[in-house]
Homo-oligomer: 230 residues x 2
DNA sequence: AAAATGTTAAATGTTGACAAAATATGCCGT
DNA sequence: ACGGCATATTTTGTCAACATTTAACATTTT
């Protein structure tokens, strides 16, 4: 067939607005704690208030916003106490996903996963050698996406993605760039080895350790630079 | 304060409708796969279509319904393949929660949790002795709620509750009543012991095993009575 | 008869208007 | 100035009407 559907699958207007709001929040266009005025947003985007309202409602369960009856929506302000809970949850989901990925590799499903992981690891080693943190940051996200995908559990992936987005709302620094690439890489290698070997329990343990270590590293960074935590 | 709001805090009409829809789905009033007609529902409930629409949208991320652009909302039909994914996720969240609960007990927070757990276990032992499955069912839910509460991780509790609701959508039997009370009780005792002792790692392992065993038991039941699985 | 096309009915998507609640404003007294 | 109260404005909640898309049906064509 030579004819292809035109444009980026624009299903509904409200869906598009939702995406735009999400972007504005994650990129800091709308700051944490800020109120989301339905009328103002609708005028900025050139759609009706009802449409903005619907988009806001659809974001309610993502953790990015807080909804208060008769008082509107506010960009969620992630507190220090919540960060630990988010790390705990993220660790649990990620560990489960790696375990599932390993199981699926062992069962012969996900045959192309090992190669994709190896490729990612290779690039990470190079980025680490060059101390290219920006590249490492991208590859790190790709690594996690790869494993979440290999687990073949769409709901887990959705939950994980929402958790990551919500963590970005805690101040603005520190959660994005790994503080210690070499350390992080070593943990990735351990996870990868277990998954490729099809060892579900080892994969779970290694993944859990990876998130736990990430939290510990982050805490240590906060001690050195308390301003970030407020 | 002498006046208390009746039932779960419901400030807005759309929120009330949402609750009613949730009830209709979980109790089977709206069957899995069934289409949710906005106009029909609005007439049944005596509210405007827009309000029903908003309620439906707010349920979108709960896993209970599927939303298709320009085609409306359908009650989610949980497939057999999804059940495993749901079990995996539930196990991960529950294990994490029990681990957190144990840590909090060890840290001296959650001082009244051990007593509450003991009380629940006592009643469970009695229900098991009397083979009172209905009572055991209630206590079982209470047990899980207790630990999710002790973890002090509201988001985890929300996710867990949604997972449980979604699992109910897989046919109608088998997921509610434990197939083997004695076995289940023994696992609860193991979890409880670890939590009360403040041993986070043991609690995590015991909780994980509990969900895994539950899945295995369920699978075995399906083998004996394949009609349930379709 | 089966497939493709044209037409009609029904459902969803979007908008603007009205009602109710919350916030801001201004007045008054001390 | 300050705090309390009535009032005005703003904002959210709800509803009804219009536009667009989808689904169902009848008709034509092969």
């Amino acid at each position: 067939m030579s004819v292809r559907s035109i444009g980026p699958r624009r299903a509904t207007l409200a869906g598009e607005v939702r995406g735009e709001l999400e972007r504005m929040i994650v990129e800091g266009d709308l700051k944490a704690g800020e109120k989301m005025n339905e009328l103002a947003l609708s005028e900025i985007m050139g759609v009706s208030r009802g449409t903005v309202r619907e988009a806001i409602r659809s974001l309610a369960d993502s953790g990015l916003i807080d909804l208060i009856a008769n008082r509107g929506a506010y960009v969620h302000e992630t507190t220090f106490a919540e960060v630990r809970n988010l790390y705990d949850l993220r660790g649990a989901v990620f560990a489960m996903a790696c375990s599932s990925a390993a199981r699926r590799v062992a069962e012969g499903l996900a045959r192309d996963v090992p190669k994709a992981i190896e490729r990612n690891l290779d690039q990470m080693r190079k980025a680490t050698a060059k101390e290219d943190t920006a590249r490492y940051y991208k590859l790190n996200i790709e690594f996690h996406d790869l494993l979440l995908g290999a687990a073949d559990n769409p709901k887990a992936k959705t939950i994980y993605d929402n958790l990551v987005k919500e963590m970005h709302l805690f101040r603005r620094r520190g959660l994005s760039v790994p503080t210690n690439m070499a350390r992080s890489l070593a943990e990735h290698e351990a996870i990868s080895a277990a998954v490729i070997a099809g060892d579900a329990d080892s994969a779970r343990a290694a993944a859990h350790l990876h998130i736990t270590s990430g939290f510990a590293r982050y805490m240590k960074m906060l001690e050195q630079d308390p301003d970030v935590a407020g």
